[in-house]
């Protein structure tokens, strides 16, 4: 089966055919390969995905945007998809141009890796996973550990009738270790993981110290009493502060939600929402970022967008349509989860910029509360402006001293109240990005990076 580069000319010809029936058309063709190694005490799983490829055509017509696509990159499947799109357009001539400015970007870019995963034999990947497993299980009380190594290469070609042509090859690599403690039928675990755009060099960030910390936490969690309940001071670790930036704020800053009149942030544009120490950023061009891209799926180059600048909400994330409607510029945030999925305004790498406080100072400042660590999930509430962030563990703080560990907790409350209550942001030494996946609603999962330093505020905490 041909790859995306080999069907470049064919796709261009098919676009011109569609152009006779629509004022504008584009196509995104994709070819991905991936590889997974997972090792634990019971099994070794090695799983390649040698071919996942296809293309999606999109055109503007009297009924708005219409899409048709197919898996496979052979001439017959691509031609069938293009013809199907033409058939569904219902074009009778005279349709206006689509909303917003069409990208005319032309460019090619590829991930620069120090050590491409393609050069790492399967045997070495398995051996590395076994090493991580050994680091975890040498901690007393750890019965098992899952060590996972994933790599994925995603090649995307975007062409449009406006003249855009972007070709990008993105290599993403991720490693994770989850240490399991089991006692009298109770099961607990903690985890550590690193991931980003790049190759095997990212896996070197999984160190014995990181794995050992997670393993010791898992053992401690077996005996941990119930988590605290109620409104209290909370100190979010980098994984939780990043999830706050992404889920609680970022989704409301996706401008398609504003056009739908579905963002609690819409009436707050230009307003001061938090302290001077708070700056929130989405950056698709972040070097090595798990959510980094070179171009978005409308052909715009990726970039850095400051959403909140020293407390003031100054910008949203835009595709061509929202940019036109709100008189802004497209920010390079239009993303498809894959060639099968529709484009939406999406985040890339979203984070809290480092501040000036030392972590020890923040613990003393909070005096009584809880540190929330090892974030596992979050979910948006773009209209309601509430938040839900879940963590695997935390530590009580009493009298300015870090106390015992506590198990799974959920943080909730109103985002705007949380922002107002921010009392400190820690320094760049604490800054860390985490690899994750984000859905638009409950579907269309794609890789996004989240991160930040520690963040001190106040919220409701309960069991989860």
């Amino acid at each position: 089966m041909p790859g995306v580069v080999e069907v470049d000319d064919l796709l261009a010809r098919l676009l011109h055919r569609i152009e006779r029936h629509a004022p504008y058309a584009e196509v995104m063709a994709e070819e991905t390969t991936s590889h997974l190694v997972r090792y634990d005490r019971s099994a070794t799983v090695v799983e390649p995905s040698p071919g996942f490829r296809g293309a999606m055509f999109r055109a503007w017509g009297p009924k708005g945007w219409t899409e048709a696509g197919a898996s496979g990159l052979e001439a017959d499947s691509l031609t069938t998809a293009a013809d199907s799109l033409i058939q569904h357009l219902g074009f009778a001539g005279g349709a206006p141009d689509p909303p917003g400015e069409s990208s005319t970007q032309r460019g090619e870019a590829s991930t620069k890796t120090q050590q491409p995963m393609g050069e790492v034999p399967v045997s070495e990947r398995v051996a590395l996973a076994q090493t991580w497993f050994a680091w975890a299980t040498e901690v007393k009380g750890i019965r098992n550990a899952y060590a996972t190594i994933q790599s994925r290469t995603d090649i995307r070609l975007f062409l449009s009738t406006a003249g855009a042509r972007t070709l990008q090859t993105i290599d993403r690599t991720r490693g994770a270790v989850a240490a399991l403690a089991i006692e009298n039928g109770k099961v607990e675990y903690d985890f550590t993981g690193r991931g980003g755009m790049g190759g095997a060099e990212i896996l070197a960030e999984i160190t014995p110290e990181r794995v050992s910390r997670a393993a010791h936490a898992a053992v401690e969690l077996l005996q941990a009493p119930s988590p605290p309940v109620g409104r209290m001071k909370v100190l979010l670790d980098p994984s939780a502060s990043g999830t706050f930036a992404h889920e609680s704020f970022g989704h409301g800053a996706e401008a398609d939600q504003m056009l739908r009149d579905r963002s609690y942030l819409k009436p707050l544009f230009g307003k001061v929402l938090g302290p001077e120490s708070l700056t929130l950023v989405d950056d698709g061009s972040l070097p090595g970022g798990w959510g980094s891209i070179f171009f978005d799926d409308e052909g715009h180059p990726s970039g850095r967008t400051v959403l909140v600048d020293h407390g003031k909400f100054i910008e949203a994330l835009h595709d061509r349509e929202t940019a036109a409607a709100l008189h802004r510029r497209a920010t390079g945030n239009t993303r498809r989860a894959d060639f099968l999925s529709r484009p939406f305004v999406r985040m890339t790498n979203t984070f809290v910029e480092p501040g000036a406080m030392h972590l020890e100072e923040m613990v003393r400042e909070m005096r009584d509360g809880v540190i929330l660590e090892s974030c596992t999930s979050g979910i948006e509430d773009p209209l309601g402006g509430n938040m839900q962030i879940k963590v695997k563990k935390g530590h009580l703080v009493r009298g300015g001293e870090i106390g015992p560990i506590r198990p799974s907790m959920a943080l909730s409350g109103r985002v705007l109240e949380f922002l107002t209550a921010i009392r400190g942001v820690s320094r760049k030494e604490d800054f860390e990005m985490s690899p994750g996946y984000c859905g638009k609603g409950h579907t269309d999962l794609l890789p996004t990076g989240t991160g930040g330093p520690y963040l001190l505020s106040e919220a409701i905490v309960g069991p989860a």
């Binding site: 040698p50 296809g54 048709a68 398995v126 979910i379 695997k392 799974s408 409701i460």
Partner: protein
């Protein structure tokens, strides 16, 4: 609709190319047509489809050192060269893998058609007209209303020809439909102003229920208005009523893992016969449940489906095994080989290797009666209508999340709508520790199928509510 013989032959074509390869091996194929309508307000924002997707997953199992080596690879490349490459990749992968199963054999002949309701006949016959009609029906209850309006939504349907073949001579197929409805209703007159009155629905099903959608629209409208006027959830430990919509996010994900082969192999499954819940808890796994999301004549590795007891009167009865985990635990598959997960997973399954998992979990009805009767019997407490998302933790069994909408129960009636704060607990806990299954004080009598769970409402004692 009886599951008919599929017209697609994806797995059969791939199997023809590996017929002489040493087994055991199997091929799972899907040929999918997908159609979508996305709406913004009451207007169509985008139509998508047909989106045609064809792919397969190839698995090879080879005895090695008292266990087996398992290779798996999934691909959309159905060309001769593509299939050859996929087989080669799976074979190479198998050399580095290991699994502690002995004497593995794959099921032989399968029925070429079944008696399982797994496809919506109207949707299959006229997909585009059917989804256009359904979207019109979704929007109709809001026509002309000023107090509530549609915010956004999408209807995404897939028509799936499933084919399966293996080295034991099994060769079978069936058709499945799936429908995902995401829809948000916004109230326009909430006292807290814009941004507070939304009810956001995510439904997964096998068919489009044209009859129910009008009344659901009215119910969602009421809930959107209630969300707009909701008070902060008061804190405290209280009796909580959980409807099937909330339970469906918790039980399949947590119990599906902890009562399954993966947990058993790693010492995380409770002993058979142990008390994992109250005496009022009966739970089955039913792969034949009418219009269940995973309902099919056979599971995803060709083992015939049946209704099997997981928990009876609170005691753990049968685990959920696929072929490999069954053999690793000196047992047999229970028809629990699944190529998706009970949490977020893609709408195509061919890229996922089989693992043990539930199909449709069926929680037996109790004597609690209707929701109304459950509320009356409760007297005082909290009805949790919707969580942000419970994101249950299959390993620890913990669940919980932000209360997006709830109702205080006072004097046996739903009273003040509330939102905010969190509620959570542990679905399945170690012996002697409190859990959701051990705290069910009443089981409703009117089950509803929601996603992967058919269940009535449950009255659960003493869940901790972190309120505002």
């Amino acid at each position: 609709m009886t599951a008919p013989f599929s017209s697609a032959e994806t797995a059969f074509r791939v199997a023809d190319r590996v017929r002489r390869a040493p087994g055991p091996w199997d091929v799972y194929g899907e040929a999918i047509r997908r159609f979508e309508i996305h709406i913004n307000g009451d207007q169509v924002e985008m139509t998508r489809g047909p989106i045609q997707l064809e792919g397969y997953g190839y698995r090879v199992i080879a005895p090695h050192n008292g266990g087996v080596r398992v290779g798996f690879a999934g691909s959309t490349d159905v060309s001769t060269a593509g299939v050859a490459r996929t087989i080669e990749e799976a074979t190479i992968a198998s050399r580095f893998s290991s699994f502690p199963a002995k004497d593995v054999s794959l099921p032989g002949s399968l029925p070429s058609s079944g008696t399982v309701l797994s496809a919506d006949p109207e949707l299959w016959a006229r997909p585009e007209a059917s989804i256009e009609r359904f979207v019109s029906e979704v929007l109709a209850p809001f026509d002309g209303r000023k107090d509530v309006r549609p915010s956004f939504g999408s209807l995404r349907v897939a028509l799936i020809d499933v084919t399966f073949a293996n080295s034991s001579g099994a060769k079978a197929s069936f058709q499945r439909t799936s429908a995902e409805l995401e829809f948000a209703v916004r109230s326009t007159a909430g006292p807290e102003g814009p941004g507070s009155g939304e009810y956001w629905v995510n439904q997964r099903s096998c068919c489009l229920d044209h009859r129910a959608i009008a009344s659901q629209g009215l119910e969602w409208s009421r809930k959107a208005r209630d969300a707009g006027s909701a008070s902060p959830t008061p804190p405290g430990v209280r009796q909580v009523l959980l409807p099937p919509e909330v339970l469906s996010e918790i039980l399949p994900a947590t119990l599906g893992f902890r009562l399954g082969g993966q947990a058993a192999l790693r010492g995380m499954m409770p002993p058979k016969g142990s008390a994992v819940g109250g005496a009022n808890i009966d739970l089955w796994d039913d792969g034949l449940y009418p219009y269940g999301l995973a309902s099919a004549p056979w599971d995803d590795e060709g083992v015939l489906h049946a209704k099997r007891p997981l928990i009876q009167s609170g005691e753990f009865r049968e685990p959920i095994y696929d072929v490999l985990h069954g053999r690793a635990l000196s047992d047999q598959s229970t028809g629990g080989g699944r190529r998706d997960t009970a949490t977020l997973s893609p709408w195509f399954h061919f890229m996922i290797r089989p693992n043990p998992g539930p199909s449709t979990m069926v929680l037996g009805p109790g004597d609690g009666g209707s929701d109304q009767e459950m509320i009356e019997a409760l007297g005082e407490g909290l009805w949790v209508d919707q969580l942000g998302y419970s994101f249950p933790d299959p390993v620890s069994g913990a669940f919980g999340g932000e209360i997006r909408l709830g109702y205080l129960v006072k004097d046996g009636k739903l009273s003040t709508p509330v939102r905010g704060g969190t509620v959570g607990g542990v679905a399945l806990a170690a012996p002697g520790e409190p859990s959701l299954l051990r705290s069910v004080s009443a089981v409703g009598g009117r089950p509803t199928l929601v996603g992967q769970l058919s269940a009535p409402a449950l009255s659960v004692g003493s869940l901790s509510v972190a309120g505002a």
